[in-house]
Subunit: 559 residues, 2 copies
């Protein structure tokens, strides 16, 4: 009997990186190491350096390398796996996270001369300071009728690649000039591991206006944004982009010795995190909606043709699974909103009471909220604590709570937030279906499903659909990355030749699932109508009070 | 030099009674005793007895007597005042608080046979279970074109006298039959003190459909509500009602010995609390708006003729000051809303941090909220935590918070609630002025102004008017009651012949006041427009989501 083979997945998240070893044969998780980024997310100031403006979110590139240095050894130790039994490596990365680097890959922020300049640092997905640039991009693209806009549901986001690059050019032109390249964090990691700059078509497709068979928009378009941007593609990016699962190259000798893996072990091109969870949920053909539920929620499903769906994040050919279009939507702040409530909305008496009972206050809140019946609290929320990604695509929308009385308690508000998140997802599902994209079943993964069974039951009750769970909840993206590592290795080297085969063997869903309850679903049908009315009133221009309040807030900050 | 003379005011509030002695000469507060009601407000169950339904709020009549028994002695001791130097006694009482009693004044709830029957107990103003009865009264009165409806801004409240009496008849007809009388708590107290049942025209006018010169509605009207109610006035009420300041009679020998006061000391007929604060704020002619700010806020101003103002609580001839009409409006839950927030909205970290700093968390919250600039937080609230009394007169409206983001903090929400309360008051002031009732200055009293200077500054900034403070903030109603006690005594007996004279000598405002700041006022002008849009959207039928949510809540409770 031959020795068991493993694929390595490295999942770069917002606060930490996860390194996981999976059995190639059946997808069993053999070893996992979670490495928190020592610098976390930089939102207040640079390390030892100047303060950052609100809306800023940076990361430290050395933290990425530390995840690999520490994590691979730890995961191998837990799994008792030898380096020679790892057949392939895959990486996924939050995106868009552009870094300005020198020709040799050195990040500008690691140069002593630039370490105090915020624009020299990698901008995390939730860096939101490039909204003016996104507005400009959208205005120019709309005026010129640029094709890429259609792929992004009509609007390019401030979180994405060119918004952030243009922000550098506007606010720190010397950084823009010095940078030989701007590169996604995921592509940069693959370059570090292999010595080859082989960029991901999926990252470029979802975040950087790149269309399969068409490439980037013309230099005319970029010149219209800014004269210095005219040749940005030739000067600072790359011409060739590689499909998911393509081997970028083999692991370099340096990194082989740092990790104890074999030199030359195939490393797949980078994947966007979230998206890579789709095959890891077993979804390799149309009909299944995958929800990756964490701080935000990503909704992804496959289709055989491009579709115009209101307010989608993207509709990208071969974006996740070769041969299919990926339709993606999202909610920008579900886990974030709940975390906000735990920190900023739960009154002290709950913690005091829980402490007396020797319990965790979140558990008490959860239990009490679970015992409420739908409609019992008389509350309705709009889940826009972090804006609305789909279907309204508007970062200037904000949260609402309606129906508060002197009798309202924290467990009731909490449940209203869970329900609002579910109404937001139902809005997205109905938009998919209205565009002719049939949703059969729903499979979920991510951190929230593990922590919050009540949330899943409410999602099932509100959508009227069974919610299934991926076998690997928190390591779903890592599994997806590892599956692409196995594909990069190929069958001959102990992996698989296609992502379909990898998914057939390595991905599955759990036996337990959340089924809709008839009575609750009927009540939520009525409540969803109320949600829709408020959603449209505040979100579609009848009353732009949120935008005016935010504009006034910006005036005050600037004053 | 003759000895200094004093007037005694007894102010029966929601949670406690206040007994205060004031110098007749200059209104100086000589002694004060606050006596909490031992049974508080009965909302959960009767003492040792059955549970109460939600919306119920009862009180214990023995608690009222205890206020007098303990409080007068305490106040005299503090003031070092002898009984013979007290020239008159006045009483004010929360209303409407009807008690069913026997012919001799014995409350039914004190009979062993009826002590477990909730309907036998005094119903406090905030008992809200008689909404169906109020709806019936309004429907019948509207159909018949009853005059009294106009005096109440078109709507009779569930908090008022006949709603609660009809509730007894509907739900406990045997209690209705046994009761020889239904009487306001204030009138009952005066009866206890003097042995004479002399009812207050002001209480009857503000709460029981009684119109000066017209009396009660016809027996036809009452029969249309319920056949057994046809002769309710003759059978259970009284025919004659007395103006404020009229001596009901002298203090009985029994109560003189219990209190150490002189037998025969004049006792004025009872006053509604709140209303009685108007002359105590020095407002004895049109032009001044008096705001009594506590759990709720009452807005009162005088006029020379009846006016139809949208959603007023009442417009009563001679209601407070002889010769003038009193126009009254209100906000049903300002102090209550803030107390709710302290208990149910402030997260635990605020208390932890305050504790570490050796401070009170409310003080910390207050300080941080004060340091925010108008418009800085991007939040807007509707202050309807306890429904809307004016101008919408709708108990089924509820609170709203718009604009919450992940960056929102408790001090910002708190400030938004203060601002919403101020916007609610501005709405009322504008309704007064739209009806041709000119508001010159604003004088405030009550518990909130003392505790919450930030609230008053925001009220000044939002309304664009100077907010003055009565000299006696918490004892303003007690002073008003004492002034009527002095009027009941008359000049010959050491008091005054009219309330005007009493006000000239005993009532004044403080030197400090809150003046509107120009820049803040301009910002609040913009924000008030947003408030008005949301106010009308949720309050005037464009989206009755709050009513539907409350109806669903009632369904769930009933299920």
């Amino acid at each position: 009997m031959s020795r068991e083979k493993f694929a390595l997945g490295i999942d770069f998240g917002t606060e930490s990186g996860r390194v996981a070893l999976f059995s190639v044969k059946d997808g069993r998780l053999a070893g996992l190491a979670t490495v928190p980024y020592p610098h976390g997310v930089l939102t207040v100031s640079l390390p030892g350096g100047p303060k950052l403006a609100p809306d800023w979110a940076l990361q430290h590139p050395r933290d990425y390398l530390k995840v690999i240095e520490d994590g691979v050894a730890q995961a191998r130790k837990v799994a008792k796996v030898q380096g020679c039994d790892v057949v392939g490596i895959g990486v996924d990365f939050t995106s868009s996270t552009p870094l300005p680097v020198l020709r040799d890959g050195m990040p500008l922020c690691l140069l002593r001369s630039h370490s105090k300049i915020p624009h020299a640092w990698p901008k995390l997905w939730k860096h939101h300071a490039a909204q003016p640039e996104a507005n400009l991009i959208n205005a120019v693209a709309r005026q010129r009728g640029e094709d890429f806009l259609r792929a992004y549901g009509g609007r390019y986001s401030s979180e994405w690649f060119f918004s952030k690059v243009l922000e550098v050019l506007h606010d720190a032109p010397e950084v823009y000039e010095l940078a030989d390249k701007f590169i996604e964090g995921g592509d940069w990691i693959v370059w570090q591991l292999t010595g080859q700059e082989r960029r991901s078509a999926s990252l470029a497709g979802f975040k950087a206006m790149w269309l399969k068979g068409r490439g980037f928009p013309s230099s005319d378009f970029f010149r219209a944004l800014h004269p210095r941007l005219e040749h940005v593609v030739e000067e600072k990016l790359a011409r060739t982009y590689y499909a998911m699962g393509t081997p970028a190259d083999g692991l370099s000798a340096t990194w082989a010795s740092k990790t104890g893996l074999k030199p030359g072990t195939p490393v797949a091109v980078a994947n966007p995190d979230g998206h890579v969870a789709v095959p890891a949920c077993g979804a390799t053909k149309p009909g299944t909606l995958v929800m990756v539920m964490g701080t935000s929620v990503a909704h992804m499903t496959l289709g055989t043709e491009p579709k115009s769906v209101e307010g989608m994040c993207g509709s990208v050919e071969d974006g996740i699974i070769p041969g299919f279009w990926t339709h993606e939507a999202g909610q920008s702040g579900v886990g974030d909103m709940l975390a906000w409530f735990f920190l900023h909305g739960v009154p002290h008496r709950w913690r005091d009471e829980a402490r007396k009972a020797g319990a965790d206050f979140i558990a008490v809140l959860q239990r009490r909220a679970a015992s409420l019946r739908p409609g019992q609290a008389g509350l309705m929320a709009l889940d826009w604590w972090n804006g609305n990604r789909s279907v309204l695509v508007d970062a200037d929308l904000a949260g609402v709570l309606v129906g508060v009385t002197l009798a309202t308690r924290a467990d009731e508000i909490y449940r209203a937030l869970l329900e609002a998140a579910a109404f937001g997802t139902r809005t997205i599902v109905e938009a998919f279906e209205a565009a002719g994209i049939t949703i059969g079943d729903i499979v979920t993964c991510g951190g929230l499903p593990e922590k919050n069974p009540l949330l899943l039951q409410i999602f099932a009750d509100v959508t009227g659909r069974e919610i299934k769970l991926a076998e690997h909840l928190r390591t779903c993206s890592a599994l997806g990355a590892a599956m692409h590592g196995a594909v990069a290795a190929g069958k001959a080297a102990g992996g698989y030749d296609t992502i379909y085969e990898a998914a057939r063997h390595m991905a599955r869903v759990q036996k337990r699932s959340y089924k809709p309850r008839r009575e609750a679903h009927e009540t939520y049908d009525r409540l969803f109508k109320e949600y829709q009315t408020l959603h449209d009133y505040f979100g579609r221009g009848a009353n732009d009070v949120m935008k005016r309040l935010k504009a006034m807030q910006r005036e005050r900050r600037a004053a």
